[in-house]
């Protein structure tokens, strides 16, 4: 019974965390007020077209309220050209066939190497279709820059997050879930989802977003590199030897009973901490003033989580323990990364929980499935409450079909290319793309193709 209540509590807290992100996006000040604000008497003809969505119209109208932004709008929007992306005249027109082909490549990577596919989807949105360059051409803090950046980010979230939800649901059905672990991830995620974007609101535009994205790409490349270096290979070989030795040694006995038993955990304090962070998210999204209350509640919840001590549980009769603040920090960082970059983030829980918290795969699969499920609810809420960030559905559709086709081809080709070589190809690619984005995002230097 108490487990059910806790599960419900977890779900509600995540739900509100999503509402909070969304509210943050909605409430985020578009920018610092430009130096000279002199509203134009009227918007020149040709900039606002009848078929544009309300959100695009609003962004263009807003840009004409400041001299500085209006000049950029006049410079970038080519009123004599055909409307394209988001219905803006002279914007790039992403090619659905190109989108489909790129997605076949993404699907192929998904089914051969794994997580790198999500990053490749992001690369497609930023570079291949020219949307990122177009967004940044409006300049820092411009309403149309933010609109296009949001559109790219939400596109990524839909693509990666939504396709992850169904498969992770299958793992969830296995029922391998450590509730206190999920609870601690929730505490971190609720705060990370609203507080981190909130604290940096208006400070991140596409340029910086590209730079951060580059850092993530490089980090993934680095992990792949580590795996293919002699030390990484030796480690894997050793692991395989140990597995083989153990297999020889062990006589397969009957199946033992499964299940998780919590031995030690400060439930009371954990619930108080979770309540505090949920209240912070609620306050932030629903109460217009006194924002400091939300900050106090969020930080209070986080500080409390450091007093949760160690949680111990048994699985297959074997005891495990972890410091409770570890999943809190993990949830915080992973949900913040997801909120910013829109690369999903769910896949980060598995390596985090196995490597940092040292937990077995059986448990990690179930618990991370819950996290993926909830992070998706968060992004749906973000989309809902933020008055509908403009998403080009037909493009996501073409990409989903492409990913599916790629995933059918992938396993059939992987026997011709060794795992090691595949990883090497991606390391080179990750280094090029990662460095390219970092240079472009933080130094304004562009290298070919990026």
């Amino acid at each position: 019974m108490s487990k059910r209540i806790l599960l419900f509590f977890l779900a509600v807290s995540f739900l509100f965390s999503g509402a909070a992100i969304a509210q943050t996006q909605q409430a985020a000040p578009p920018a610092q007020a430009p130096a000279s604000v002199k509203p134009e008497a009227s918007i020149p003809p040709g900039y606002i077209l009848p078929d544009m969505s309300a959100k695009v119209k609003a962004a263009i109208e807003k840009s004409f309220k400041s001299e500085q932004f209006a000049a950029k709008t006049r410079e970038v929007i080519k009123t004599d050209q055909k409307p394209a992306y988001l219905g803006i005249p002279g914007a790039p027109s992403p090619n659905l066939i190109l989108g489909f082909l790129w997605a076949v490549w993404v699907g192929w990577i998904f089914s051969t190497v794994g997580a790198f596919g999500g990053i490749m989807a992001g690369v497609g949105h930023i570079s291949i279709f020219g949307l990122g360059q177009y967004a940044s051409s409006f300049g820092k803090d411009h309403p149309l820059n933010k609109l296009t950046t949001d559109s790219i980010r939400v596109g990524n979230q839909w693509l990666v997050g939504l396709s992850a939800i169904i498969s992770s649901f299958n793992y969830y059905k296995m029922g391998r879930l450590v509730l206190p672990l999920g609870m601690c991830l929730a505490i971190g995620s609720v705060v990370g989802a609203w507080l981190i974007p909130d604290l940096t609101a208006g400070k991140i535009n596409l340029k910086a977003y590209i730079g951060y994205f580059g850092i993530v790409v490089l980090a993934v490349g680095f992990v792949l590199l580590k795996e293919t270096l002699p030390t990484g290979q030796a480690k894997k070989k050793k692991a395989k030897e140990a597995a083989a030795a153990f297999e020889k040694q062990i006589k397969q006995g009957g199946k033992s009973s499964e299940g998780v038993n919590i031995i030690e955990g400060k439930w009371g304090l954990m619930i108080v901490a979770a309540a505090a962070v949920v209240a912070s998210a609620l306050w932030n999204s629903l109460v217009p003033g006194f924002k400091w209350v939300a900050y106090v509640l969020a930080f209070g919840g986080l500080v409390l989580s450091f007093f949760l001590g160690t949680t111990r549980f048994s699985f297959y009769g074997v005891e495990f323990e972890y410091k409770s603040y570890l999943p809190v920090i993990g949830g915080l960082i992973i949900s913040a990364i997801s909120a910013f970059i829109g690369v999903g983030g769910g896949f980060l829980y598995v390596p985090y929980l196995t490597s940092v918290a040292g937990l077995p795969m059986h448990i990690v699969a179930g618990t991370s499935a819950l996290a993926v499920l909830i992070s998706m609810i968060s992004s749906i809420f973000a989309y809902m409450v933020s008055k509908g960030v403009v998403v080009q559905w037909s493009f996501i559709l073409a990409e989903l079909v492409g990913i599916f086709v790629g995933s059918i081809i992938g396993p059939r080709t992987s026997k011709y290319i060794s795992d090691k070589w595949l990883k090497r190809i991606f390391i080179v690619l990750a280094a090029y793309v990662g460095i390219g984005y970092i240079l472009r995002g933080f130094a304004g230097i562009r290298i070919p193709g990026i």
Binding site: L49, S53, K82, P83, A84, Y85, L86, G87, P89, I97, G107, F110, S111, V113, G114, A115, G117, S163, A164, I166, S167, S168, N170, Y171, K235, K236, A239, A242, A243, A245, F246, E247, I250, Q252, F315, Y316, V318, F347, V350, P351, T354, P360, M361, H362, I380, Y383, M384, K387, G388, W393, S394, L397, A398, L400, I403, F404, S407, I408, G410, P411
Partner: protein, 196 residues
């Protein structure tokens, strides 16, 4: 609300508002009479535009779920053995790591768990990619809804501007998936377990 939208000839805001018709837009134009049919039919029966909107959207969601399942079925026919092989490998390694734990061999457990992690990652993302196959029709539905009902807003307490068609569509889609799943369990897998 509904009358003004459904009375338009063709789709009011196709593609991305001003694009030349792309292949998806052409598909939407082709499907439009069939997709808008249930809305009009229910509206003429009930005389209630809002009820017609929900019912019509639910029918749309059912189509999306059915088409998604058909695609996944196709994937299983083509690639089932590959998928099963990789998930079986992950499962086997995972079970082995548990055996190592039970026997108290922490070193073997750590080693096998890391292999299981690798294997799980691969299998997980293979399934993610395949699951794209079950979701594409949902986005076709969303593209059509955007073109036909993109500008309508639903009033929601606390929210000044209400919400667009996406949350109600999601509710319909989730409900359609649940109903489809139950119906499948009741009428198909209980009789033919191999169709699971």
């Amino acid at each position: 609300m509904l009358e003004s939208d459904t009375s338009c000839a063709g789709l009011p805001a196709l593609g991305y508002r001003g694009y030349d018709l792309n292949i998806v837009d052409s598909i939407l134009v082709f499907l439009d009479p069939a997709l808008v049919g249930p809305y009009r039919l229910i509206e003429s029966w009930s005389g209630h535009p809002m009820a017609a909107w929900w019912a019509g959207t639910f029918v749309l969601a059912l189509w999306a779920v059915a088409l998604g399942h058909a695609t996944i079925y196709l994937a299983r026919v083509i690639n089932g053995s590959f998928l099963e092989q990789s998930s079986a490998e992950a499962r086997e390694l995972s079970n082995k790591s548990m055996d190592a734990l039970k026997s108290g061999d922490k070193e073997a457990y750590k080693a096998i768990n890391s292999l299981a992690n690798d294997s799980f990652g691969k299998s997980f993302f293979q399934q993610v990619a395949v699951s794209a196959g079950s979701l594409w029709p949902a986005f076709l539905g969303a593209a059509w809804l955007e073109a036909r009902f993109g500008d309508i807003r639903f009033a929601v307490p606390w929210m000044e501007n209400g919400i667009n068609f996406v949350p109600p569509y999601l509710i319909c889609y989730i409900a359609a998936r649940i109903i489809w799943g139950r119906a499948k369990r009741t009428f198909v897998t209980s009789v033919h377990p191999e169709m699971r």
